[in-house]
Symmetry: C2
Subunit: 347 residues, 2 copies
């Protein structure tokens, strides 16, 4: 996990800023028909014709959002793209283009940036998005990444956070809490490594949760799955800050309340065993852990038969009148107000 | 210029991340008909109907791109937007939307971010662009800003860097070198301030060049001016890194050479006198200074009568066959190869 500091490395000052961009992006090609001009002019040019364009952006800062002592740069490049594509998919749109900006201090050699961009390239290939721009500059400390993702959708397909109605069912894709548990494993191994750098950790029992943290996948497939089921969600959001925080966003934007059932929250067995090992409450992890990049959405009750038993989706609750507020109904049938304990970088 | 550290300030940890975004953006409204959804969902939604969309992004890092000891935060917010709009105008497009992401360390109180966003708001108002998204997070050191700008244009109006032909005339808007000279004045005053904090500098002789550095304006007007003159440039780029570097970009992308005439380069009298005072060569400043945010473009020779004598534009040279290379023809008629000595953050 820790890079070999003795290899021959190329200093970034050996290349000009434009040479650097050219070098890092030379293998990227444009695949989307909406990409008219990519990297190499003052701006990218895109043609959305009769579609609507959607756009989202995120900043990722070393020491705040990621730790390079256990995050391989290729994974970081991949994850940086995922974080943003997830927002595009949460609009029920198709992601089409991204820009990637990166600032690094002079401790990073060219080879480190090549690793990062190889992760970006892999994400572009798998998710069929075009890298059409970005900026590359130096920082005074560490690495920071800014990604903007663009997508397209027919107007009628776009799903906002604001369309949920009382009695709509609350549905989540995949399972929750994995990314947070993976982070706990990695943090523990980092501490072990500090004490004994020769220790070779066996992470195999934790493969799933470590991958959820290091190499999350955005839910590109959900739009198609829902289309096949002939379901258009009434509201949708992606789960980046934790289930609790996202439910409260849907409630607030849609002016509704919500009951979510603790015993319905989908947890992978690896998450349950990791929570036992780390002596943390698995429900709390699912509610507040964050970084799962699953989609949370509401559907009309009449669509319940279409989704029932589908392995991709779990109905975890229902929306209520706004005055009823947002609550977790515990396994013991207690009604506990939901609070946003999602991750806050400032606290 | 230096903020009063004794005022009552509000720590960012007193607000949640969403409260902070809401607070900072509550006075922004959507004005553009292409802005369907702004801040408040997973992504912004835009409608470019039959227009093409253009997009550009830049990173600005404290200590690399700006110095808060003389850059007021409101100006910084304004300039951050200008830097990006300039790229949109360099495509001969109309800027329509921006996203602004900002990361700050905990030394910044809420009031500092309010100042920054007031500059962003002023830019949005004057330049008629909508703030439709962004990200707000903490950094481990200093302030960093990422802006993405979006615009729209009819396909036939878009001007790339690649369309220049031999014999086309090379034209620049406004005048050059001011921003670099302004920076020299500010750096000098900063050194004086370090020695004598009670010194009140008289910057009035330098108003123009200091404003060119602290509060540049992007050339929103050029598209309209050229339309009135019935000129469509054959290639265009904005001058962010210095005239020399931008000419070389046009030459490279268009596969042409260029002769640029030293005695034609437009310089404001304040720039000339500042260069004398600082004992720097004014031509070198214009060629390599950067941050002028003027537009550099080529036009067909037949359009010369339309532009001749126009106070907004100066013909500074002409394009040649690629094999002739890119040269500065000095006042003494020497032919000096142009080299990109534009600013490189890595060196």
């Amino acid at each position: 996990m820790i890079e070999d500091k003795n290899q021959e490395k190329t200093g970034l000052d050996q290349l000009g800023e434009f040479e650097l961009i050219n070098h890092l992006t030379k293998n990227f090609t444009l695949q989307h028909k909406s990409s008219i001009m990519g990297i190499g002019d003052d701006a990218a040019v895109m043609d959305f014709s009769n579609k609507k364009a959607v756009m989202s952006t995120d900043l990722l800062i070393e020491g705040v959002h990621f730790d390079l002592s256990y995050m391989p740069l290729k994974h970081l490049g991949y994850k940086s793209v995922m974080v943003n594509l997830s927002d595009i998919y949460a609009m029920n749109a198709i992601a089409t283009q991204i820009t990637v900006s990166i600032a690094v201090s002079n401790r990073f050699p060219l080879e480190a940036l090549e690793e990062f961009y190889s992760g970006v390239a892999l994400a572009c290939e798998i998710y069929k998005v075009d890298l059409v721009g970005g900026d590359t500059t130096s920082s005074t400390k560490g690495m920071l990444i800014s990604v903007t993702a663009v997508g397209e959708a027919d107007e009628a397909d776009i799903v906002y956070r604001s369309g949920a109605k009382p009695n709509d069912l609350l549905v989540v894709s995949g399972d929750l809490g994995g990314a947070y548990c993976g982070l706990q494993v990695l943090e523990r191994e980092k501490e072990v490594f500090k004490v004994n750098p020769n220790n070779q950790p066996d992470l195999s029992p934790y493969t799933y949760i470590v991958e959820r943290q290091l190499k999350p996948e955005a839910r590109k497939d959900i739009k198609g799955l829902l289309q096949q089921l002939e379901i258009l969600p009434t509201s949708m959001i992606d789960i980046s800050d934790g289930l609790s925080s996202e439910i409260l966003h849907l409630c607030s934007k849609s002016a509704v309340g919500c009951n979510v059932y603790e015993n319905k929250i989908p947890l992978d067995p690896t998450v349950i065993s990791a929570c036992e090992e780390f002596k943390i409450d698995s429900t709390l992890v699912a509610l507040s852990g964050g970084e799962d990049y699953e989609l949370l959405f509401t559907i009309d009750q009449k669509d319940f038969p279409k989704i029932k038993g589908n392995p991709h989706f779990t109905v975890i609750g229902h929306m209520t009148d706004k005055n009823e507020g947002a609550h977790l109904i515990s396994r013991g049938d207690a009604k506990i107000p939901l609070t946003a304990q999602g991750w806050n970088s400032f606290s």
